[in-house]
Every structure is written in C-alpha cells, then in structure tokens.
C-alpha cells in the first residue's frame, strides 16, 4: 500500500474500535453459538449465546452431554449417518441443518458448521462448532421446500395421469382398462394398495378384476345390492375419502377392518362413471376404484380434482371398451351363426344335424346344451357337455316352452343359467334348445338376442332336416316297396337282386329292377335307371316300372315294348332319357330276347364258359332325341345253369377308374364267383366292386335257372309294418311248403327280431329302416334281420329279454353281429316229416 507514494493515507488505524475488544466477551456474546466438544461429541465448552438460546445451564452441558444428545431423534440419525462420517473424513462440515431441542422442549432451527481439530500427531482432538439461529431462514426454506414439493408432486401427478390416460386410450377391453386404472393411484399419489371392481349388469354384481396385489385380485364378487362399501359407493356414485380409520369406522366398519388388515390409514373409494367431469345426473357407474395410503393423509383440493378426473377418464374408457366389446361380441356371434348355418347344411340327416348343433354350442356358447325334438313317439334328444341341469326343473321348463312357444331365459331357481328356447319353423314348435351357460360368462338373458337368432336358425335347419328325413323315408319306402314287390317264384328259375343306396345317401336314386311273368311260361327281367334323384325319381321309376308290366305282352317282344315306352315317355316327361336293359325268357325253350335302351350291356355267364357282355340289341335311351330310336332286339340261347346279370352304372363307374376297366373288373369278379350260391351273389358283387364308400346307387339283378330262393323286405321302424312283413313272410314260407310249426316259429322269431330293432336299435330314429332277408333250402329256413341303429348293451330290458328268449326257443341257431348296427341271423331246420 505504501508503495503508491503516500498519496493514500492508511485508514486502518482510524477504523479501529475505540475500545479494546475483549476476546472472552466476544466468545461468550458472539452473535452465534459456540460449542467445543471432544471427538466423541462430549461438550467441553459452550458460550453464553448458545445457553441463552437454548435455556440450558452451563453445568447441565459441560462434561455431561454430547452435542448429539441435544438433537431431535430424526436429526440424531442424520448426525450419525452424515455429519459424523463427513467430519471424520473432511475435517469440517458446513451448513448442516439441525433442530436443537431446548431445555423447555422447544426446538430451535439452526445451521451448524464444525471443524475438527487434530493434535500434532494427527489424531482428532476437539471439534469446534458454530451454531447459527436459522429460524427465519429455515422458515423460508420450508416454504421453498413446500413449493418445490407441490410443484414436484403436481408435475408427478400430471405425468402419471398423462400416462394413465394414454394407457386407457390404448386399452381395448374393460379388463385392460381396469389394469391401467389400478396403477394410477400409485403413480399419481404414491398410494399403496389399490383395486378395481367392474359392474356386471347381467349378473347385478361388481367383480373384482384388477389389483396392485402381486397375486392379482382376490375373487370377490359383490352383489350390487349389497351393503358393502364398494357396492354402496357404486350406488351413490360419489367420491368417498376416509382420511382416518375412525372416519371409515363411522360409515363402513367393514372398510375400517380392511384398512387395518392392509395397514392402510387413509382410504379412497372412487366410482368410475360415464359422462363428463362434473356431470352426475344420468352418469352411469361402471366400476369402483379403491386405494389407500399407508400414512394418514388428507387430499388437497387439487388432488381431489385429479382423483375425480381419473374417475371420469376411466369411466369413459370403460364405456368405450364396453361398446367395443359389444361390437366384437356381435361380430363373433354373427360369425358363429353363419358358421353354424353352414355346418348344419353339410349334414342333411336330422339326428346328426341335431348332434352337430349341440356340439357347436358346447363349449363355445354354453357348458351344456340339449336339443329335444318332438319327432317320433318318444321324441329325439341330442345332448353335449355337462353337467346338465336338474332334470325335473328342466322338464318343467321344456314343457312350458313347448306349450307357450316363448323362451325361458332367466330363472331365480337353483339353475339360474339354464335357458330353454323353442325351435320353431313355420310357427310350429318343432322342439326345444336347452342351454346351461358357463358360470362366470354372460348370462342367457344377456345373450338373449343371439340365442334367439341361434334358435331360429337351428329351428329352420332342423325342420329342413326333418322334411328331408320324411321325404327320404317316403322315397325309400316307395322305392323299396316297388323294388321288393312280388317277384315271381318258380322252380324253373331264381332271381337274386341287390339294391344299395349311395353311401352319403343324399337322396334316393332312380335305379330299379323288376322281374315278372308275362305268361306262365314267359319271364321278363329288367334293370333300369331314371334320370334324377329323390322322391320324383322314385315316383317316375314306379310309373315306368308299372308301364313296363302293363305294356309287356307275349306277342310284342322287347323292341316293340321299347317303342311303346318311347310313346309313354312323351306323356310322362320325367321318364325321358331313362335307360333300361330288358330281357324276356321263354321258360320252355330257354330262349332269351333282349334289348338295351341306352343301358349297360347284360353280362351272361354260361356253364363252362367265361362271362360275356351281350352287346347286341342296342338303341338309345327312352324318348332320346339324339340317340337311335329304331328299337332293335336280339336273341340268345340260355343253356341250363346260365346266370344273367343286369346292373346299373353305379356298379362299374368309379371316379378314378375308366369305364372299360370297370367292365373288365366286373367280368373277372363275376367269373370268379361263378360257383358261388345265388343268395348273396349280387350283394357280394356290389361289395367287391364298389365297397361301402360308393358315391352312387347300385342296382343288380341276377337271373339263374335254379331253385334257390330268397325273400327281401325293408320296412320302416314302425311297429305297424311288422304285420305287413309277417303277411309276406307267411305267404313266402307257405309257397315253399315249409311246415306249419316251422312257419309259426319263423314268423314269431322274425317279428321279435324286428320289434327289437325298432324298440332298441332305432329308439332314437323313427326313420330307421329294418332289412329282412329270408332264404330257404331243402333243410333250413334262414331269416336275417338287419338294422343300422345304435344299440346300447345296457338297454336289454326285461320285456325285450323275453323276445330274445322266444327267438332262441323257436329257432335252432341264432347269431348276433353288431357292427354298424345289428344283424340277427336265425336258422331253423325244416320238419318235412310233419
């Protein structure tokens, strides 16, 4: 300073205080507290200022207390975990905020600076500490902190809410909405335990669907009418905040108990409502969010606003999810209905269709389903899934529905989910569809529209199947009655026939065979095929068959007959383009005259020769405009022992085989069976040429000059038809000179076997067909009764047991063959002696 040349006077002398500052006084009355402590904190010196601030006597402190002991408990932790370590390591600590507990318990906010003094060896010797009264500053800091807290928590809430709103927008289902909502209180307010219940209007209950518990929501379904807090809040539609357990205790003791259990001191119950924030009228409560805080706390107005906003946001998301759910369910249902209609159409027959229906319904729609149809004397039943509802109640409901034609969807009884709907067609109740919805799924009442649609479609599909069955049965009966008509019996020849319907038997075909005597010595045999299928084809076939019988005459011969049929076809248009092979055999001369109108050539096996096709006498189909209409015929000699085979194209045509190959196979097979007995020959040929999986009807007729004979009948599963069968069988047995006792026995046995087939095999199928074949040889009479029904071994009741017993008593040999249905073969030795 003096280097400047003395221009500037030294003023430090002037500024010196005019009295000597006493260092002792300065220490004692300095504007801050002074403490000197040992390294372990024991106070060794303290100034007046500190004593004045805190109200302690010097004697209370020096040598008796440590600095730490003067701090509040929380600050003691801070002292030990921060202050002391830092002091050890840095040698000083600055600006630590401590609350000093004064002698009267008052707390003094201070800021503390400490310096660690070391001895020359470097070991800690003493700590010098200055203490500033920071009351005002700490007040300011606290405000600053509070502002920062508010800003931070508000920002956190906003961020959390934004996240939740984004999650809600992305949640397509109510469950996902619930899972987004349940996280919100934790994110926005640091809440602990939180759960979401959703209203299930169908079942009038609230279902616990989401929870912050790691184990997910406990199964807890609350009826909306319950007195439980969640249900109550859902009904009230208001936000409920319980700041203390005591508050909760007043209104909801149950909630208070739950709060104690979960260690929660403050609880909030928030209804999730539709509508906009602030609107309560007309807003619908879709769920309830509950959450709690481990610490006791109130909610500020701004927090409450956020909570309410959350309730509305969640409610709107739920509403959207509900609509979305509805739309998706509607779409699924529509797809299901369309799929069901298609699936049912694939199966034309009634019972299989009914079974497919219930199998589609279970488990997609219901846990159990049953279709009952009022068809046949006992009705029909197709059932799937289980367990079924109480049978008595079900029977009552079914009866109500059948009588009233109105569905029964809800019930307060023991089976609230058992619904019964009428299956109607053309205003008539065809039967019922009964369902038991799976527990936890939507109720039948909630699915009413869908179930009505389903029942309508099912009713229509089943009615169509019933009509189909009916027509099929009529057509089949018609066809059988025509085919199985009175074929002539004569010792000079035998006729063996076989007809088998297409495997996937859609509709009956127009194939037929016939054999009749034009005169006592002239036999006509014919096999033909009418265009088309179904009842029309069967009818046309009948007409054509009758026409042939009427138009054939001893004088005319095959060619003339065909000419007459051409004219007949002009009147009966449906017979146009029918094909047939027609043969007349003079039983005296064994000369055959034949003609084929567009039909496959007959196959003749002469004794000792290979079979050959008769390729002459060919002209076009009946009424053909393109084919040759000049009718020709051809003669051939039939040596004794010849076998003539007439057949329809189903026998040799196969999709994957050329027709000439078919002819070859037939000729070879036929040759191989030249010595086989006539009974069963035609069936055997069909079996080996086309098997069971044949796409077309097959019709065969084999004429042999021999004496074996056979009777074939097919009757519907109707007890009334048994008497008609007996009449035929009695005549046939008599014509074969079967003794009276054997006749009685065979009639009884055959009746019992057919009755069994109807009562058991076809107990579920009033449209079943029973085939009866009887053959007679010199020694025995054999009857085969075949059904394709579904027997259950357990169903051998006492009454039917008596029937079987009778069969065994009157017949010598009885065998049962159960494969796809049942064939009973019964044989009895003839008693010529009597």
């Amino acid at each position: 300073m003096t280097e400047s040349g003395g221009d500037v006077p030294d003023v430090t002398q002037d500024l010196r205080v005019p009295w000597d500052e006493d260092p002792g006084d300065l220490y004692e009355h300095a504007p801050c507290g002074y403490l000197t402590t040992l390294p372990d904190g024991t106070i060794v010196r303290v100034n007046e200022t500190f004593l004045a601030w805190t109200g302690y006597d010097r004697a209370d402190l020096v040598g008796r207390r440590r600095f730490r002991d003067l701090l509040s408990p929380g600050d003691k932790i801070w002292y030990e975990t921060h202050y002391a370590p830092l002091l050890s390591m840095q040698g000083d600590v600055h600006e630590v905020a401590f609350d000093v507990v004064c002698a009267d318990g008052r707390r003094l906010s201070t800021l503390v600076n400490s310096v660690l003094g070391r001895d020359p060896g470097g070991s800690p010797r003493a700590v010098r500490t200055t203490i500033f009264d920071a009351t005002e500053r700490r007040g300011y800091e606290k405000e600053l902190l509070a502002a920062r807290h508010a800003a931070e928590s508000s920002e956190q809430r906003v961020r959390a809410l934004q996240q939740v709103v984004a999650d809600l927008a992305a949640a397509p289902t109510a469950t996902e909405v619930a899972e987004a909502v349940v996280r919100a209180p934790g994110l926005a307010f640091g809440a602990g335990h939180s759960s979401v219940w959703l209203v299930d209007p169908d079942r009038a209950q609230l279902n616990a669907v989401a929870s912050t518990d790691p184990g997910g929501p406990a199964p807890d379904d609350i009826p909306t009418s319950a007195t439980r807090p969640v249900a109550e809040v859902a009904r009230r539609g208001d936000l409920h905040v319980f700041a203390t357990r005591a508050e909760a205790e007043v209104e909801f003791p149950e909630l208070a108990a739950a709060m104690r259990r979960t260690g929660c001191r403050t609880a909030v119950l928030l209804p999730l409502t539709t509508g906009f924030a602030g609107e309560t009228i007309g807003a619908e409560v879709l769920g309830v969010l509950s959450f709690g805080f481990a610490e006791q706390r109130g909610l500020t107005d701004s927090e409450l606003r956020v909570v309410r906003l959350l309730g509305h946001q969640a409610g709107q998301a739920l509403d959207r999810a509900r609509l979305y759910d509805d739309a998706r369910r509607r779409e699924e249902r529509a797809i299901f209905l369309a799929g069901t209609t298609r699936a049912l159409e694939e199966i034309p027959r009634l019972m299989p269709r009914a079974h497919r229906l219930v199998e589609r319904i279970v488990p997609d729609v219901a846990e159990w389903a049953a279709v009952r149809l009022q068809v046949g004397p006992a009705g029909l039943l197709a059932e799937a899934g289980g367990p079924g509802p109480d049978p008595e109640r079900l029977a009552e409901r079914v009866a109500t529905v059948v009588a009233g034609g109105a569905p029964q969807l809800t019930d307060d009884g023991p089976d609230p989910d058992c619904a019964v709907l009428p299956l109607t067609a053309g205003g008539k109740v065809l039967g019922t569809l009964a369902l038991r919805m799976a527990p936890g799924r939507r109720t039948a009442a909630a699915e009413a529209q869908f179930l009505h649609d389903l029942a309508d479609r099912a009713g229509l599909a089943l009615e169509n199947a019933r009509l189909y069955e009916q027509e099929r049965a009529i057509a089949r009966t018609l066809q059988r009655s025509l085919l199985a008509g009175d074929l002539p019996t004569d010792p000079r020849f035998a006729v063996e026939t076989h007809y088998q319907a297409a495997a996937h038997d859609l509709e009956v075909g127009g194939d037929w065979y016939d054999a009749f005597l034009i005169t006592p010595d002239k036999l006509a045999v014919v096999v033909g095929d009418v265009v088309g299928r179904g009842i029309d084809a069967a009818t046309t076939m009948g007409q054509l068959r009758s026409a042939i019988r009427a138009l054939a005459s001893a004088e005319a011969g095959p060619a003339r007959l065909l000419e007459r049929l051409d004219r007949f076809v002009d009147r009966v248009e449906s017979a146009r383009m029918a094909t047939l092979a027609y043969c007349e055999i003079d039983l005296k001369s064994s000369e055959m005259t034949y003609a084929c109108a567009g039909h496959l050539p007959p196959l003749l096996a002469e004794p000792g020769d290979s079979p050959r096709y008769l390729l002459d006498g060919r002209s076009g189909a009946l009424g053909s405009r393109a084919g040759r209409t000049a009718r020709v015929e051809h003669r051939a000699q039939l040596p004794a022992g010849s076998r003539l085979l007439l057949y329809t194209d189903g026998l040799i045509e196969r999709r994957n085989r050329r027709i000439d190959k078919g002819f070859e196979v037939l000729a070879r097979t036929y040759a191989g069976r030249r010595d086989a007995p006539l009974p069963g020959l035609t069936a055997g040929l069909a079996e080996s040429l086309v098997g069971k999986e044949h796409a077309d009807d097959v019709c065969l007729l084999c004429l042999a000059l021999g004496t074996e004979e056979r009777m074939e009948r097919s009757i519907g599963a109707d007890p009334v038809q048994i008497a008609l069968l007996r009449k035929d069988l009695r005549g046939w047995l008599t014509s074969h000179q079967v003794d009276g006792e054997s006749t009685q026995a065979v009639l009884l046995a055959c009746s019992e076997a057919v009755a069994n087939a109807i009562e058991h095999g076809y107990r579920d199928d009033p449209f079943g067909i029973v085939d009866v074949t009887a053959t007679v040889t010199a020694d025995t009479v054999e009857v085969k009764v075949t059904d394709r029904g579904n027997w259950k071994a357990s169903e051998q009741d006492v009454a039917r047991g008596r029937g079987l017993q009778l069969i065994r008593q009157v017949m010598d040999q009885v065998t049962f063959d159960r494969a796809e249905g049942t064939t009973v073969t019964m044989r009895r030795t003839r008693r010529r002696a009597r």
Binding site: S72, D75, I77, W78, E80, T81, H82, E95, E141
Partner: protein, 244 residues
Amino acid sequence: MLLAHGYGCDQNMWRFVAPAFEESHRVIRFDHVGAGKSDLRAYDDERYSSLEGYASDVLEIIHDLDLRDVDFVGHSVSAMVGVLAAIREPDRFRKLVLIGPSPCYIDDVDYVGGFGRDDIEQMLVSLDSNYLGWSTAMAPVIMGNPERPELGEELTNSFCATDPVIAKKFARVTFLSDNRPDLHKLRVPALILQCADDVIAPAVVGDYVHDHLEGSTLVAMNATGHCPNLSAPDETVAAIKAYL
C-alpha cells in the same frame, strides 16, 4: 473381502479400514446405486423397494467377479443386506462382519429398535432440509454464492455424495424394513461389532441380533457412535482381523 457402505455415505467410509486388509485379501469396495459415483440411471423403484434388491446387487457383484469364500463386511444397513445375500447363496460366503447391524429400527411389542415410527417420519422430513444443502441445484443458494456454482459442485462431489431423491427412498427402505424373521435363516458365521453409545443400533439391538444369529460372535467396542470404521478405524480393523 467385500466392503459395503451403509446409509448416508459411500465407499469412501472404508478409506481408513480397507488398506489394512489389502495384504491378506482382495478388497472390493462399491457404491450402492444412488450413492457415490454409481450410475443413477440404474435405480429402479420396484427393485429397490426392499433390501432384497440391494442384496441382489451384492450377489451380482459376486457373480460377475466370480468371488468365492467372500468375507463380507457390511456397515449399518448393509449388514442386513449382507445377511439377506448370504441366506440366498450361503456357498459364496466365508464369514460376515456386521458393523452396527439392526434388523428393525422401529420399536415393536417386546422389541426395542431405538425409534418410534414418528421419529423416522420426522427424520425423513429433515432429510429434505439437509438434502436441500447437498442437491446440485440448491447448494449455491444455501452457500450464498449463486455466482460461484462450482462451490456447490465441489460440495456435492465430495465425500458421501448421494442423489437426494434416491437417498430419501433408500432411507425409507432402510429405516422401515423389518428383517427380524430372516435372521434365523443365516447359516454363515457372523461377527457383530457393537459400538458403545450407538443411537442408531443400540446395544440391545446388537444383543438381539446376536441371540437370533446362530453361531454369531458379538464384540462390544470401545468406540462410540455408529461409524467405528471412521471414528475408531484401528479398533475396528483389529476386531475384524481377530475374527477372520
């Protein structure tokens, strides 16, 4: 030897102790997530909501470095972290040294932890006041030198730096945890170093831990306070060496 610092500080607190073992051991020190120079981004609310998360960290260090026959020295809360880790994978540990351990800081029926729940709540509040001083943003303000922010920097970067937000959560986990039910599961021998006049882990707590840890050894030290590793490193080193 794996040294785990307790709440409130970082690995610096081992500076007077660690050198004494460098001859006999491979000495590894680390900072818990949120403390010292740890990567703050690694902090995860969920993982560190209980001491198990910190125990998992210890095990990860052991796995990554493929450590065996570990002598684990844990101070304060890290003593319990070490106990939890050693329960999970006892085969990795040889011995535990627990400095001022406490399984539960809050008094309970028939248990003295040293604090009431309210004390802990008050402590959490006071954390705010002090972290105000340590946080990067606020340090210059409190220092009264806003024009010299490097002072604040210096302060926060010095010993025992902690991220205030994480520190508060760590404090909550530390002082609200109750690991009493876990003690009996420990199968690794343990040394308990109990200081005189330790308000955070009083002698009764040390006795409790000793009673509930089968095969444990309790050494009552002359050192006072909660951090003998700082206030009495020689005595601490000697006690550990004697035990190991």
